[in-house]
Every structure is written in C-alpha cells, then in structure tokens.
Symmetry: C2
Subunit: 397 residues, 2 copies
C-alpha cells in the first residue's frame, strides 16, 4: 500500500472564504484604488479600467460616495460626441493618515489626506540618543496631539497612525533600535480612537513605501536609506517585503569584509562600517554632513575619495542584492541621495564590475521620506480595503 503523502500548498490568496461581502469589498477597493492611482475618472472609464459592468460601477461608486471616500470631480471639458461623463474623484476630506517618526536627532509628525496631499507637518529637532524612551515618547505624544488637533480643525477624520522607528519592531513594541539605544520599548501613545489604531514600522521600510508612492521607481525595487546606519527597504510587486520576522532589508549588515571590524550588530565587516555616514566622515575628515557636501562640491580630493570609496562598497553590496532579489531598480536615498553627484559613478562602476546593472535612480524625497511613508501607509490601508475601514469606523462610533 502506498503511503499517502500530504503536501504543503501555498495559501496565498486562500486566506479565507470568499463571501458576498468579500466580493463587494474587493470590488470597492478596485474602484477606489483606480481613482486613487489614476486620478479623477468617469464611471465609464472605471468600467473599462476595472472590467466590471456599468451597473456594478454605478452601485460601487454610489457606496463610496455615501461613505464620503469619493465625490464629484470637475469634469474635464472634452470636445467629444455624446454625453459627457460625470467625474468621480477622491474625496480629500474622506480620511487622513497620521505619520509619526522618532529618529536620532528629531521627532516628526505628518498628516496626509486620501489624495496623498500633505495637510500638516511638524518636525522638532532634538537629540534623542540615550534619553529615556518614556521622555521621548511623551514629546512624541505632544506632537501627535497637535497633529490630531490640526485634523479636527480641517475636518479630517483620522483613519489611524503609523510610527517610523530606526530599528526593528514587533506589534506595539520597538524591538531594537541601536542608534536610539532602545531595546524592547513598548509604545502606547494616547491617540484618539481611530479605525486602524497605531502601527509601528521600520523607518527604512516606510521610506521605501514613500518612494513607491512618489513613483520614482517601479514596483520592484530596493531603497537604500543611508544615514549613520544603512537601512534598506525592499518593495516587491508594489508591496513591502518584511521577511519572516519583519527584519528583512538590513542592507547595512551585508558582509563585505569577513575579517573586518566588529559591528554593533554582532557581526563584522558590515557595509555600514565601510560606507555609513560615520565611516565617510571619518575618512574625509569632515565634521558633519553639511561640511562633507560642501567639500565635495568644492572638489576636495580627500572628501571625494572618501565618498567614492563608500560608493564602491555600496555598489558591491548592491551587486549581491541584485543577484539575490533581482529588483528592477535601486533607489539611493538619505545621505546617498545628497551625495549622489560624487557617489553615483562609483556605485555604477562597482555594479558593472560584478556583472549586474540594475537601473540606479536617486531619491527626490528628502529626510521626510519616512514620515511621509508612515502617513501614507495608513491612507493606503483605507484605499486597499475601504470596507474594512468603514466597518471599524462604525464599530468605534
């Protein structure tokens, strides 16, 4: 008798039963997503774009209008035959996402609306290294309160909040943020009740999401956040790649010199030690980021050599990344974006020398990338599943 063997199948997309409500929810998301992504569309354009029938679109749009997520847009005066379509546009007052960020030398808050427009931003410079986490979080709570007040003033319903931290996170806890000196710090900000509550996310990951939404890159890319540490955000098929324990993308700890100097991560010879901001500053003799850029701009040989060396190491690391992940493109962000004029060539040369040539682009988002990504991640949840948003909004009301 043959021993029956049972196999383990993928469950992607098989997460649960599909009922009528799920069908409706999925189609609502399809319509809302189309409008959010493409901009105002007529119902007839939505029919063509989604593959649903006119009748279905009618009903779906009706629901979204009733929910206040979309509204009537300005009709573009097309000189075409036939009845002009009435335009469906994202309702900017429909929902807002609160982005928060704790970083080494500042705290930040940002509110974006359903259309992706920034409705409020506030940043406070402050060295948070080795301050008691509770103290930092109290400051952050004040920042958040000011932001939610701004939402109220503008009549924006808050859908949820997302906090960007320079480290690894788990549900409601900052696991480890070396540069802040935080270990297992629970985060529980006193925010007003909202549909999605507060989530935590790695700063580099959120910067990558912001980059995705800004549309600089494609749907498959790796975003390098160069700061004191070097973080990486991996976007796969338009979705953040987190890995099994939400620790994926630790580009800074790719091993480039097996017998190199010890790193804070417990390893040795990590990219971060060879191409991180501290390493560049030490090699160039510049005191800080601004001085470094100035010296590069002035063409000072020492600074240029230090930056080129970092670029070379970065390129080598990215060659390994490309071989492993096969991204469509690599985005240089953070310090590397600012240093791109003097670093880009070294990166590309190193990539070519190791047999790969992904498209390399420079981020246009500044240090705001992470908060922006945080706020955007909330708005994205609304657009990605409007039915869930509406449901939890009702529940909490």
């Amino acid at each position: 008798m043959l021993a029956q063997m049972f196999m383990s199948w993928s469950n992607r997309g098989m997460s649960g039963p599909v009922q009528h409500s799920a069908m409706r929810g999925s189609n609502l998301a399809l319509v809302l997503g189309a409008v959010a992504e493409t901009g105002p569309l007529t119902r007839s354009q939505l029919t063509a774009r989604t593959g649903l029938t006119k009748s279905s679109i009618s009903g779906l749009v009706g629901d979204l209008v009733a929910a206040g997520l979309v509204g009537e847009g300005q009709p573009a005066p097309t000189r075409e035959r036939g009845r002009p379509g009435s335009v469906v546009a994202i309702e900017r007052q429909g929902a807002a996402g609160l982005g928060l960020e704790v970083n080494v030398d500042y705290l930040a808050a940002m509110v974006t609306d359903l259309g992706g427009t920034v409705r409020y931003r506030h940043t406070v410079a402050h060295d948070n290294r080795d301050r008691p986490p509770a103290e930092v979080l109290a400051d952050l709570a004040r920042l958040a309160a000011a932001a939610t007040d701004a939402c109220d003033e503008q009549g924006l319903p808050l859908a949820g909040a997302c906090l960007a931290v320079p480290g690894t996170v788990a549900a409601g806890v900052v696991r480890r943020a070396p540069n802040l000196g935080w270990d297992d710090v629970p985060v529980d900000l006193p925010l007003p009740r909202s549909a999605f509550g507060l989530t935590l996310e790695n700063e580099a990951d959120l910067a990558a999401l912001a980059e995705l939404r800004a549309g600089t890159a494609s749907r498959d890319f790796v975003h390098v956040s160069g700061e004191i540490g070097i973080g990486g955000g991996i976007i796969v098929d338009g979705e953040l790649f987190r890995g099994a324990h939400a620790r994926a993308g630790e580009l800074g700890h790719v091993v480039l010199d097996p017998d190199g100097p010890a790193c804070s991560c417990g390893g040795r010879g990590c990219l971060e030690r060879l191409a991180g901001l501290d390493a560049i500053l030490a090699a160039s003799g510049a005191a800080d980021r601004a001085e470094l850029e100035a010296r590069c701009a002035a063409g000072e040989a020492g600074a240029l050599a230090a930056v080129a060396s970092a670029g070379r190491w970065l390129g080598i690391a990215l060659a390994s990344v490309t071989n492993l992940l096969d991204p469509e493109c690599v985005v240089l962000g953070g310090v590397f974006a600012a240093l791109a004029p003097w670093l880009g060539d070294a990166v590309e040369e190193a990539l070519a020398r190791h047999g790969v040539q992904p498209r390399v682009v420079v981020s246009e988002l500044g240090t705001e990338a992470a908060v922006r990504g945080a706020a955007g991640s909330v708005v994205r949840r609304v657009v990605g599943d409007p039915a869930a948003y509406l449901l939890s909004r009702e529940d909490s009301a």
Copy 2:
C-alpha cells in the same frame, strides 16, 4: 492652489474584478487546498476549517466530486457520538503533473498525482554539456513521451508539464544556462494537449518548491542548491520569489571577495568560485563528488579542510542573505546536503560570527528535488485554481 498628487498604490490582490465565478473559484480552491494539505476531511471538518457554511461546503464538494478531483475516502472509525462524517479525499486519478529536467549530466522525467505521490520516474545519465540543444531536446522529448504513455496506462489525465533547467528562463525560452552552454534556446516539446501546457523554470527554484512541499522547512526559507554552480530558491510566504526578471536567488553570485577571481557571470569573487563543487574538488584534490565524500568520511584532513572552507564562505554569504531576506530557515541542498556532516558546523559558525542565526536544516530530497518540484508545480496549479484547470480542460476537449 495645491497641486493634486496621484499616488501609486499596491495592486496586490486587486488584479481584477471579483465576479461570482471568481468567488466560486476561490472557494473551490479553498476546499480542495484544505483536503490536499491536511489529508482526508469530512464535510463538517471542512466547514470548521474554511469558515464556509455546511450548505456551501456541500455544493463545493459536489462540484469537486463531479470534476473528479476529490472522492469518497475511507472513514476513520471514530468512537464518537453522532452520525459519522463521510470523508472527502483527494482523487489520486484526478490530475497528474509531468516534471522534466535537463541538467549537465542527466535528463529526468517524473509524474506525480494530485495526492503528491510519484507515479512514474525515469532518469537517463548523459553528459549534455556542449551537445547541440536540439539533440538534447529530442532525447528529452522521448523521455516525456514515455512518461505521458505511463500516464495513459495508469489513467492519469495530464494537467501540464514543467521543465527544470539550470539557468534563467523566460516564456518558452531558456535564456542562459552557462553550465549547459545554452543561450536563448527556445523549447517546444511535442507534448499531448493539456490544460496548462509546458512551462519552464529554474532548477534551484523548483528544488526549493519541492522542499516546501516536503515540509522540511517552513513557509519562508532559502534553499541552497549546491552543484557545480550554486543556486538559490527563495520561498516567501509559501510562494516562490522570482524577482522582477525571474532572476532572483542567484546566491552563487553573491560577492565575497571584491578583488577575487573573475566568474562566468561577468563578476568576480562570487560565492560559486569559492564554495562551488569545482572549487571544493580543486582544493581537496578529489576527482569527483563520490571520492570527496569518501575522503571526508575517512577523515582525510585535506578534504575536510576544503569542505570546511566552503562551509565558511557559504555561511558568510548566508549571513548576508539572512540580513536581507530574514528567512525563517535555510535549507542546504544538493552537494551541500551530502557534505552536511562536515560542512554544517562551518556554516553555522560563520553565521554566528556575523551576528545572525537562522535555523539551518539539511535537505532530505536528493538530486530528485528539481524534477519533483517541476511535477509538483503543475499539480499545485490544479489545486491552486481548480476552476481554471477544469475550464481549460473543457476548452481543449
């Protein structure tokens, strides 16, 4: 006036409209998947497991029975109160997948049924290096014909075929298989008409899928296929990770020594050059795999040192991989599985030395992994979307 910014949202799961047929299809897959994964289940167990109601399960199972994909199973004699459930089991005669493999020194074919049981296997040893591709493909066609004959004999309806190749692939074409010496070779085997036709896939990727189904590892792991080259198969959330151009997982070309020797990939200092089978053989002085293993088993210092060195390099590469992808586990396959007794410790030491410690397990699938994965990938498509399978089966009939 604020400039309206339109954002790029993820489209995951938003691929198309959800109609009634899609709902049905998804639920059919849910039920079939549950039975395939867990083994025979009663309808009542299916209700609990899927979240659908009794009535729905009744109907869905009815359809699957009518389609011949599931059937009545032996009821397990439970001594419990109440009417015993009638057991729904995978119909082993429901569909079969044909796996094929072209490799450097052999050709292989395998047929597995819906239950995952191997129903036919045949391997022909032959050095295919630098033979004209057409000749090799003609041999492969003969192998495939014998396999489909075996299907007919056993009354197995062929759902499709998948060919494993040691290189990169695109639709219907082997892009580049360095160790075979193939470049842009179109593959068009004369197979009988089937629902899914013939697909091509990288050998290492398929080996990883086979590993997934064997259940050795979890749903997030990296499978290392060590042969002459070193391939990697990345499984994320139970799904093969392909990357933007289906070239992801090229673990063999992770850069370990930036100024190292040139590699066939165009780069230098790649893992493959330091820990591939050729490198180990050269360092140990053994003539082939068998001799190497024998010398290791005999405790010969030279062989052990060569293997340990490879293990150390492999460990360093896997440290980078872990930092980037954060897999739950790493699976050593191919030669590395055979050499694990002498190589495993070096790998784990290197990983620990670089600050990470993923679970490392050794594959129990032999060289059969890739063909098995190929055959399994076809069966998986049937289970993953039975409605699509039935539809294309009708169309071709």
